[in-house]
Amino acid sequence: MRGLLFTEYFDFISEFLDADALEDLLETMSGQITGAYTSVGDYSFDEFLKIHTGVCQALDKDSNDLARQFGHFLLQRFKALYPNYFEGVASGLDFLEKVSTHIHMEVRKLYPTANPPDIILDKLGDKYILRYRSHRPLASVARGLTEACLISFKDPYHITSENHLESETLFTLERVA
């Protein structure tokens, strides 16, 4: 897993968890995790999961809710870090389309070891089905990212349901009444 997600995650939880608590938490995992992360490095997803689980316990928060919140946070960060990806994009749906076909492609070129998820957007009548397919169970992050994206572009769509299948998670996007 890209180091960038770790460094961004640490920035994200600094809002909820004070530095002492975080360092204490990390200390309890010493030996099991690297602990120090650089955005250009590559790290095991297990480490991320351990840290996230620890954080949720410490904050007494639902793991999926926090992950969804992290998704919202990430979109703002992406806008700041990679503004050129957002240039000329008219809507949130367009951007979601672009993520899998274009952005993740670029990521694979730059980092041959990276394994980004597939995001597929299917139109179904006046609805859209967003399919999230990844070997990492981060569907909630994806949901947060999607919601943030629709809000950010002021798209008249919102997620009305979420279905977890074995290999992928389906989000239904419906027009806001």
């Binding site: 004070d18 002492d20 990390l26 120090a36 955005s39 250009v40 490095g41």
Partner: protein, 779 residues
């Protein structure tokens, strides 16, 4: 409210940040090293590629000028493969005769110096790795030769090998083989570049081979052409010789036949006369038998002469205007006695659309039909013979009719096999037809030749057992029905004595050396009521002709002392063209080539021996009639001032009808202008002629006469036209004195011509009610 982090926390945070930074720096360092390595690799690759491209480029340029394929393979080994970085290379060439590949060029250990090869191996196709490549023409890349049982060790042990075929358009040329002592040394890129250079070399070698192939083929072809040319020359010489021989043979046959025919004529003529005597019936029978045998012999001889003549290419057509109905009538009359004798019927079918007159050689046409009828007579059973003339096609623009003349009999008919042979030389039918046949078998062959000469076709249609129809077809030009023009006299009735026809006794001179012929002609002509003088040779003929006027002279061509041609020339020279009696050649010479000589000498025609009495009759009658007509039309004496007998008095001086017809369509003013113009032209011609005569310049006279000939002809000044023509003729023959004489006459006669035209113009003006003010003084 957030608490400030403790020192301990800050220290822990810092420691984590440092660890992360070191990790990042380490990653960066690794990336940099990897980047540098890949950059160096790229540069090396580029450099190699450039070097390879350079080698390939040089190769491509170098082979363009190479002529010998051995140069190509050595260049391939030393300048290409070696410089591409291969440390070993052997080029094998395919030896098709022995079915093996032979080491031909190499580098490294195999090639110590120059173009020498150490122990050049010869490997049969299919043997070892190179032999396999040669056989399959597929490349081989072997990473470890020790694993390959096919490997044949030469100078190097173990390692790897790459081997590509040299081939073009599916034809094996050789093999290019490279080895390396290391295993797994060669890559696909090595294989690719070797394939590339192999294909360059193969294309070049193939091109050189094609070139030398083409060259040797061209040389072979040239040799063949040379041979053929020689052969053609030899054949041409042989052909000329054979043609010469053939012409000689024909001439010989014609001459011999002629020699036989002359006495035969005498015999037949005498027999004819003998029949007129009072003979006992037994004698009469014998004479008749002798006569019919003689006639048969005569027919045979005529066939032989005709055939020899056409064989020698001397057949010339003599077309005239003829009437198909007259032709048929005469044929019918001719065959009448024979038809009766055979108790047959001769029917004639004539298409309604057949024109009255056509242009063609009626004599030859008659010959074909007679031949067919004579055949039909031989084979027709006692029924009938039908002569049909059909109009089978028309070409209106050229006024042509295609006519088909056919003779049908109802005899046994002819089988298809025999039909094919019929028109060939000496062919006569076997079986039933043969029994009754006679003749030399030349008749139909002659018909075929005559038809060819007339651009026509002959053929036969027959169903075995139902008779046969022999036909001839050709195109004939229709002729407008103008009575009297060129129309041959074709009376077939009993001939009236000439004095009765003409009202006077014709005077005839005959020059003939053979006594039998003399008697025969005399008796024949006297029978017609002629006054006949016989002389024995040319000299005597000239003497008589210069002393007496004859209505006609018959002149034998071949005579002792002086021949007929010379005699004729003498007579004309002595007496002049106009005053000379009409002279006819009496000749048995069948060959047409004689004709030109005869007419050039000044004779008017030919009577061929054996003559028919009617031929002589016609000539005498015609000549007398012409002379009598001329006298009637003779112009008044004042017309010509000269007493010179050269002037042909027979010609009417001015034909008003002709000029009227000419001017008929024009209005009066145009007529007037045209005549005025003509008169002026004539006056100008008079001046030119006078000038020419004063300076004795016959070229001026001749040229002016030529102009006058056509001008006078156009305007009906026939007398002047004739004079101008004579003047022009003698000028062309360079008879200076004659030319001057005629020139004087022409000049002297121009005045009367002008006068005639002026009178005619006046008469025109009177009709128009206008008096011409022009006055034309006589020159």
């Amino acid at each position: 409210m957030k608490q400030q982090p403790t020192i301990k926390t800050l220290t822990r945070q810092l420691e984590r940040e440092r660890t992360a930074r070191k990790e990042a720096e380490h990653l960066l360092e690794e990336k940099s090293i990897a980047l540098f390595a890949s950059n160096s690799n790229l540069q090396q690759l580029n450099a190699n590629k450039e070097a390879s491209l350079h080698v390939l480029g040089s190769f491509a340029i170098a082979i363009t000028t190479m002529v010998d394929e051995i140069d190509v393979v050595w260049y391939l080994a030393k300048e290409v493969v070696a410089k591409l970085g291969f440390i070993d290379c052997v080029v094998y060439m395919h030896d098709a005769d022995s079915g093996a590949i032979v080491q031909t060029a190499a580098i490294a250990e195999k090639n110590p110096n120059g173009r020498q090869i150490v122990n050049p191996l010869r490997i049969p196709l299919g043997e070892g790795i190179t032999g396999t490549v040669a056989l399959t023409m597929e490349t081989e890349l072997i990473h470890d030769v020790t694993d390959d049982p096919r490997y044949i060790s030469d100078v190097m042990e173990g390692g790897s090998e790459v081997c590509v075929p040299l081939a073009h358009a599916g034809q094996l040329i050789g093999v290019l083989d490279c080895e390396h002592p290391e295993k797994n040394h060669f890559t696909d890129a090595d294989l690719y570049i070797l394939k590339t250079v192999a294909s360059y070399a193969s294309a070049k070698i193939a091109e050189r081979r094609a070139h030398s192939d083409a060259l040797s083929k061209a040389q072979a072809l040239e040799g063949r052409v040379h041979q053929l040319t020689q052969l053609k020359n030899e054949l041409e010489i042989a052909k000329e010789k054979s043609e010469e021989t053939s012409a000689l043979k024909s001439k010989f046959v014609a001459t011999i036949s002629h020699e036989i025919r002359t006495p035969l004529t005498g015999i037949l003529g005498s027999l004819d006369l003998l029949l007129d005597e009072n003979l006992t019936s037994h004698a009469k029978t014998l004479v008749s038998m002798a006569r019919s045998s003689g006639q048969m012999l005569q027919t045979l001889l005529n066939d032989v002469i005709d055939f020899a003549r056409t064989e020698a290419g001397h057949l010339q057509l003599e077309p005239t205007i003829f009437n198909v109905r007259d032709l048929l009538a005469s044929i019918q009359t001719f065959w009448h006695p024979h038809i009766d004798a055979h108790d047959l019927e001769l029917n004639i079918n004539l298409d309604f659309s057949i024109a009255a007159q056509y242009w063609g050689d009626v004599g030859r046409l008659r010959q074909i039909i007679n031949n067919y009828v004579s055949n039909a007579l031989k084979y027709a059973k006692s029924s009938k013979i039908v002569i049909s003339i059909k109009h089978i096609a028309s070409d209106d623009t050229n006024h042509l009719h295609r006519l088909k003349f056919s003779v049908r009999d109802f005899g046994p008919g002819i089988s298809p096999v025999e039909q094919e042979k019929l028109f060939k030389v000496f062919s006569r039918l076997s079986s039933s037809r043969h029994d009754q046949g006679d003749g030399a078998g030349l008749g139909l062959a002659i018909c075929s030749q005559l038809a060819q000469a007339m651009d026509g076709e002959v053929g036969v249609t027959s169903t075995f057992g139902e008779g046969a129809e022999f036909w001839f077809e050709s195109n004939f030009k229709m002729v407008e029905n103008l009575e009297g023009i060129n129309r041959p006299v074709l009376e077939t009735q009993n001939l009236l004595a000439l004095p009765e026809v003409l009202g006077r006794t014709p005077r005839v001179l005959v020059a003939e050396d053979v006594q039998t012929n003399q008697t025969l002609i005399r008796l024949t002509l006297e029978k017609f009521g002629c006054n006949v003088t016989i002389v024995n040779n040319g000299i005597e003929a000239v003497e008589s002709a210069s002393k007496h006027a004859y209505d006609v002279i018959f002149m034998d061509i071949a005579m002792p002392v002086m021949d007929g041609i010379t005699a004729t020339k003498r007579i004309i020279k002595l007496v002049g063209h106009a005053a000379a009696s009409p002279i006819f050649a009496l000749t048995a010479h069948g060959m047409d080539e004689d004709h030109s000589e005869i007419t050039q000498a000044g004779m008017l025609g030919i009577v061929t021996k054996p003559f028919k009495p009617k031929d002589l009759y016609n000539v005498v009658q015609q000549c007398c009639k012409n002379a009598d007509l001329s006298k009637l039309a003779e112009p008044p004496k004042q017309e010509t001032v000269s007493n010179n007998t050269l002037v042909n008095n027979a010609t009417k001086s001015f034909d008003e009808d002709q000029i009227s017809a000419l001017l008929n369509e024009l209005d009066h003013a145009s007529k007037d202008m045209l005549i005025t113009q003509t008169i002026q032209d004539l006056r100008a011609a008079h001046g030119t002629l006078k000038n020419g005569l004063e300076h004795s310049d016959i070229d001026v006279i001749g040229a002016e006469a030529h102009k006058l000939q056509s001008l006078c002809g156009t305007f009906g000044l026939l007398h002047l036209q004739k004079l101008a023509e004579q003047t022009n003729t003698v000028w062309k023959r360079h008879h200076i004195k004659d030319c001057q004489k005629y020139g004087v006459l022409l000049e002297g006669s121009l005045g009367s011509g002008i006068q005639a035209l002026a009178t005619y113009q006046q008469s025109l003006n009177q009709i128009e009610g206008k008096e011409s003010n022009d006055v034309y003084p006589c020159p």
